[in-house]
C-alpha cells in the first residue's frame, strides 16, 4: 500500500549509462610489455647458449637430486629446527633478569649477525685448521697439571678427529644453524615483547614459575607475531643453502649443478637449471607460508575461533542497530 504510493509519487530513476573514463596509458603499457615479453621468449628459444636439451638432460640426474634432497631440503629443515630452538633460548637469555645471561645473549646475536653468512660458512669449513681433534674433558688440564708439577696431564673423556665430525655437511649445518639462531632470537624477542604485560602479571600472581609462564602463557601468544617472519626465514634459508658451495658441501644442489657446468663447459645452462630448481622449491614454501599467515593473521588462534568472534561482534552490532531503529 505505502510502497505503491511511493512509486507513484517518485518514479524509479533510469539506470546510469555513463561513458567510462578511458585509460589509454594502460593500453600503451600492455603493448610495451607484450613486445618485451616476445623479445624475451625469442631469446630463450633462439639463443643457442641456453642449450635447453642439455640442461633438461642433466638437471634430473641422481647426484643432483641427491644434492637437492640432502644438501638443500634436509639441510634447510635441520638448520631451521636448530636455529629456532637455539633462537628461543637466546631470546629468553636476552630478556632474562640475569645480567650475565643478557650479555651473553647480546654478544651471540651481535657476532652472528655481524659476520656475513658466506664468510661464516667459509670459516666453519676450515675450522679443522684450528684443532685437529675435538675432545671433551677437564678444561686447561695440561696447564693445571704443570701447576702441580705433572707433565702433560690429560684428563679427556672422549674425542674425535675434527675431520670426522666437521665434514662438509656438519660444518655447513653448524654455520647455517648458528647464524639462523641469531636472527630467530630477534624475531622471538619481538614476539615475546608483543605480549601484553598483564599476562605475565596474571601468571605470576597465580604462582607460576618463569619457565611455566613462558611456555604456557607468553610463547603461545607470541606465536602470532613469530610465525610469519619465521616463514620468510625458512625461504631465505633454503636459498642460502647455495652458499654451502664455499664450505664446501658436495652433496648439495648448487655444488652439483656448478660441478656439472664446469666439467662440461656448459656453465650457463646449469646456472639456469639452478634458477629453475630454486624457483620451484621456494614457490612450494610460498604456498605453505600463504596458508600459515592466513591461519595466524586472523586474531587469536585457529581461524574458526576468530570467525566465531567476528560473528558475535556482528550479532551485537546488528542487535544494537535494530534497537536504535526501533526507538
Amino acid at each position: 500500500m505505502a510502497s505503491e504510493e511511493v512509486t507513484t509519487v517518485r518514479a524509479r530513476p533510469e539506470p546510469i549509462r555513463a561513458v567510462p573514463v578511458r585509460h589509454p596509458g594502460r593500453w600503451i603499457t600492455v603493448a610495451v610489455l607484450a613486445v618485451l615479453a616476445a623479445m624475451f621468449v625469442h631469446v630463450l628459444v633462439t639463443n643457442k647458449a641456453f642449450n635447453w636439451s642439455f640442461m633438461v638432460d642433466k638437471m634430473f640426474r641422481p647426484p643432483i637430486i641427491e644434492g637437492l634432497l640432502r644438501g638443500t631440503v634436509l639441510m634447510t629443515v635441520v638448520a631451521m629446527v636448530i636455529g629456532v630452538a637455539l633462537g628461543v633460548l637466546v631470546a629468553i637469555m636476552r630478556l632474562s633478569d640475569n645480567p650475565i645471561l643478557r650479555a651473553v645473549g647480546w654478544l651471540y646475536t651481535w657476532f652472528f649477525r655481524a659476520v656475513p653468512r658466506l664468510v661464516l660458512l667459509a670459516v666453519f669449513g676450515n675450522i679443522g685448521i684450528l684443532w685437529s681433534r675435538i675432545e671433551f674433558g677437564v678444561p686447561f688440564d695440561t696447564q693445571l697439571g704443570q701447576l702441580f708439577g705433572i707433565d702433560n696431564l690429560q684428563l679427556r673423556l672422549f674425542g674425535f678427529s675434527s675431520r670426522d665430525i666437521l665434514t662438509g655437511f656438519m660444518a655447513g649445518l653448524l654455520g647455517l644453524a648458528l647464524s639462523e639462531a641469531a636472527y630467530m632470537a630477534e624475531i622471538v624477542r619481538a614476539g615475546i615483547q608483543s605480549v601484553d604485560g598483564g599476562q605475565t602479571e596474571a601468571a605470576q600472581a597465580l604462582g607460576m614459575s618463569r619457565g611455566q609462564l613462558l611456555r604456557r602463557v607468553v610463547l603461545p601468544q607470541a606465536m602470532r607475531v613469530i610465525i610469519p617472519p619465521t616463514g620468510n626465514e625458512t625461504i631465505a634459508m633454503l636459498k642460502d643453502t647455495s652458499l654451502l658451495l664455499y664450505v664446501p658441501v658436495s652433496v648439495e644442489l648448487f655444488f652439483q649443478l656448478d660441478a656439472v657446468g664446469k666439467r662440461t663447459f656448459q656453465i650457463f645452462p646449469m646456472y639456469v637449471a639452478a634458477c629453475l630448481w630454486y624457483l620451484f622449491l621456494t614457490s612450494i614454501l610460498l604456498v605453505g607460508q600463504y596458508f600459515l599467515e592466513r591461519h595466524f593473521g586472523k586474531g587469536y588462534g585457529p581461524a574458526g575461533r576468530a570467525r566465531l568472534r567476528l560473528r558475535t561482534i556482528a550479532a551485537e552490532q546488528g542487535g544494537g542497530g535494530q534497537g536504535t531503529a526501533g526507538v
Binding site: 599476562q199 600472581a205 597465580l206 604462582g207 587469536y300
Partner: protein
C-alpha cells in the same frame, strides 16, 4: 641464642593473632618518585577491607606489593604471619628465591582491572591451568573444581568459550574463578569493575558479595561506595601514598573526618 629458636617468620600466624595481612611502614619508590610513604594496614581474617583513593594515590602499587609483584623499599608485609618476599634471619633480611616467592603467591589470589585472562585458553582451561601446572593437581580433580567454580560465578554454560567470546563482566567472573581455583586465603581486587560497562558491574559485585559472605579475606580497591558500605568491614582512604583515614565504612562514608576524604567522597558519591 634467640636467632636459633625463633622461627624464620617473626609474626604470629593468623590463627593466633587473627590477622591475615599486616603491613608496617611500607615504603615504595619508582626511581625518585616515592609512591608509598609508610603504609600501615591490618586486615583480620575473614574481613573485607575496601581501599579508596584518587587515581595515582598508590592503591594498585600497594596491592602489588602484597603479593610481591613489586619489591618494597622499606617496612614489612606479612600475610598470615609470613613475611612476604624476604626471610628474616640473624637480624638481617634475605631475599627469597623466585621459587619461594611463587609459593607465597599461590595462597594470594589477585583480580585485575583489565581481567588479564589467557586469551588462547577457554574459560575452563584458564581456571584449570594453575592448579594443574603449579599445584600439580590431577586434571580430573582440577576440572571438577573448576566446573563447580564457574557454575558458582554463573558461567556454567560458558566453560568452552574463549575470553574473546565473553562480555567484560563474564571475563571478570572467570578471572575471579581462576584466582579462587588456587584456594587462596586472601583475595586482592584491583578496581575489578572499573573497566566494565555500567550494566555489567552488578554481576561482578554480586560474585564478590557472595565470596565475602563465605568468609573470604579480601582487599578491594574500588570506587563502588555502595559495595564498601554494604560489604566492607573496614575502609581505608589513601591519598598521596599515605593512609589518610580509616575506620568502619558506614561511619567514614557518612561522616568523613578529613578534608581530603570529604572532597573525594563528594566526587564519587
Amino acid at each position: 641464642m634467640s636467632e636459633l629458636t625463633v622461627p624464620a617468620q617473626a609474626g604470629a600466624p593468623a590463627a593466633e593473632s587473627g590477622l591475615m595481612v599486616q603491613a608496617e611502614q611500607v615504603h615504595k619508590s619508582f626511581g625518585h618518585l616515592e609512591v608509598l610513604k609508610g603504609i600501615d594496614l591490618e586486615v583480620r581474617s575473614g574481613e573485607v577491607c575496601c581501599l579508596l583513593g584518587p587515581s595515582g594515590s598508590g592503591k594498585s602499587t600497594f596491592l602489588r606489593c602484597i603479593n610481591h609483584l613489586e619489591k618494597i623499599n622499606a617496612g614489612r608485609i606479612r600475610v598470615d604471619g609470613e613475611l612476604i618476599g624476604y626471610r628474616e634471619h640473624g637480624g638481617k633480611l634475605h631475599e627469597l628465591r623466585q621459587k619461594e616467592v611463587a609459593a607465597q603467591r599461590r595462597s594470594i589470589g589477585m583480580v585485575f582491572q583489565r581481567f588479564n585472562l589467557f586469551p588462547h585458553m577457554t574459560a575452563l582451561e584458564n581456571v584449570i591451568e594453575a592448579p594443574v601446572r603449579v599445584k600439580r593437581e590431577s586434571k580430573a580433580e582440577a576440572r571438577e573444581r573448576a566446573e563447580a567454580l564457574l557454575a558458582r560465578v554463573g558461567l556454567g554454560d560458558k566453560m568452552g568459550n574463549y575470553p574473546g567470546q565473553l562480555s567484560g563482566g563474564q571475563q571478570q567472573r572467570v578471572a575471579i574463578a581462576r584466582a579462587l581455583a588456587m584456594q587462596p586465603k586472601l583475595m586482592l581486587f584491583d578496581e575489578p569493575t572499573s573497566a566494565l560497562d555500567p550494566e555489567l558491574v552488578g554481576e561482578v559485585l554480586d560474585v564478590m558479595k557472595d565470596l565475602a559472605r563465605d568468609g573470604m579475606t579480601m582487599i578491594v580497591v574500588t570506587h563502588e561506595i555502595g559495595f564498601a558500605r554494604e560489604v566492607g568491614d573496614s575502609l581505608v582512604f589513601m591519598d598521596g601514598g599515605v593512609v589518610v583515614e580509616q575506620g568502619n565504612p558506614r561511619e567514614v562514608i557518612a561522616n568523613p573526618q578529613h578534608d581530603r576524604t570529604k572532597a573525594f567522597l563528594a566526587k564519587v558519591l
